[in-house]
Symmetry: C2
Amino acid sequence: MARVFAVANQKGGVGKTTTAVNLAVYAAGAGRRVLLIDLDPQGNAGSSLGVQSGEQPLYDVLVDGEPLQGSVALSRRMGLDVVPSTSALAAAEVELVPVERREFRLSDALESLVPRYDVVLLDCPPSLGLLTVNALTAAEGLITPIQCEYLALEGLGQLTGTLRIVRSRLNPRLDMFGIVMTMFDSRTRLSRQVVDEVRKHYARTLFRTLIPRSVYLSEAPSYGQSIFEYHGASKAAQAYSSLGEEFLTRVEAG
Amino acid sequence: MARVFAVANQKGGVGKTTTAVNLAVYAAGAGRRVLLIDLDPQGNAGSSLGVQSGEQPLYDVLVDGEPLQGSVALSRRMGLDVVPSTSALAAAEVELVPVERREFRLSDALESLVPRYDVVLLDCPPSLGLLTVNALTAAEGLITPIQCEYLALEGLGQLTGTLRIVRSRLNPRLDMFGIVMTMFDSRTRLSRQVVDEVRKHYARTLFRTLIPRSVYLSEAPSYGQSIFEYHGASKAAQAYSSLGEEFLTRVEAG
Ligand SMILES: Nc1ncnc2c1ncn2[C@@H]1O[C@H](COP(=O)(O)OP(=O)(O)OP(=O)(O)O)[C@@H](O)[C@H]1O
Ligand SMILES: Nc1ncnc2c1ncn2[C@@H]1O[C@H](COP(=O)(O)OP(=O)(O)OP(=O)(O)O)[C@@H](O)[C@H]1O
Ligand SMILES: [Mg+2]
Ligand SMILES: [Mg+2]
């Protein structure tokens, strides 16, 4: 039975896609059967892995109720399938508003696929609209990347507020699974201050691994590669390996 | 008669708020009467300038048609007023859907204020939903910050596609006013490649000034200060001054 996690934070550019992609590749490399779904109309998760669109656009699954199976594309990597998104998905934020069970469209669509996978990761757009709410309703855990920047702290209250609303009205099993500090730059005081601040309030769920700022992470997507494939010996690859280990340990302890 | 510009890009974390805030402070410092409106429910533009909420939440202006004047807060800086946002604004993305003239709520609300200002800047959230569409409908020009990263290039097509739709259906005067390259790191090949790529397709509107990556820009918001107030002698402050000059020259040539 798959464990489903939403990678979400309405603050933009904090490393949601980078974390979803590299955790997915790590887990598949460790022998798990993994499905990565790109719920962001920008489509960065699909293109970061060199996966273009499947046969059936994800929009048709969420808005018209088509089976999700038709949107699954192979990723050329053992054990990892990807459901890419297309820009048409942006319309779903508005068009789902009047639709029946609008918050459950993804969780309903996932039901038939869940037995085939061990881990499902949902990459979310930078907003708390219906696409992200669908992810939070389908997931058991929220993984939140936080950039080591002051402005990144501001939105945390809104995110945990939304989690509480989704948990009380739509999905009682949803919990904060883990916070990942990203773009950590050990040379700046700001990075350490932000980490200390987050550790003060969220020590229980904060992952130990800090993801360093690294140009390799921004280069890898242009080759359609994960950090492990692009530069396996880099500090960034080591950090995402260590995060991957922490992630799987928590999943399997759960 | 005010010139109205939307600072928008659905890609997250590219420097929209940082650019809107620093352009606003620069223009006010150069003697223009400036209004900065924060359309992002995260509220980063308001808090980056140390401005908390006005009397009347912006949500009430857009959804209930209250007068915008009630939301204007002073910013403690000569010539710069700010309309901060609150997290309640996030609900407007969904609640505006059935409302009459939903795309024109902001432009209707702005009509009574426009004569009091020379420049109005609209900071947008990282999405192409109704809040951003309201900004594009109220504006004459789009200012698009682009991070010097590969993934930042991917969304450009969607943004220009949305601009074309808004121009043909809602706001015929809307044009791409300027592209600002942000977080430029002269040490990396990637930064130069992204700038070259953007210059190839958008040479006409690309601002000459490149904004360098600088930790001062991420520290300044935690003090509620613009880069000029926080570290006026820094390369980042010089870059935003030079961008401010380019911006005002284009505005006054227009
Ligand atoms: N640790 C890192 N060091 C340096 N660059 C990084 C790191 N993590 C991500 N990046 C780069 O920073 C940018 C933002 O990351 P990413 O796209 O993963 O964030 P996101 O939260 O998914 O953004 P969005 O909110 O637009 O969906 C990308 O260009 C990415 O390649
Ligand atoms: N040139 C720069 N150098 C370094 N850091 C920067 C620079 N510009 C912005 N930042 C920092 O990067 C982060 C993202 O910038 P900002 O919040 O302005 O982007 P945004 O596009 O408004 O994000 P969102 O999509 O969430 O609205 C912030 O923490 C900001 O302080
Ligand atoms: Mg993303
Ligand atoms: Mg912003």
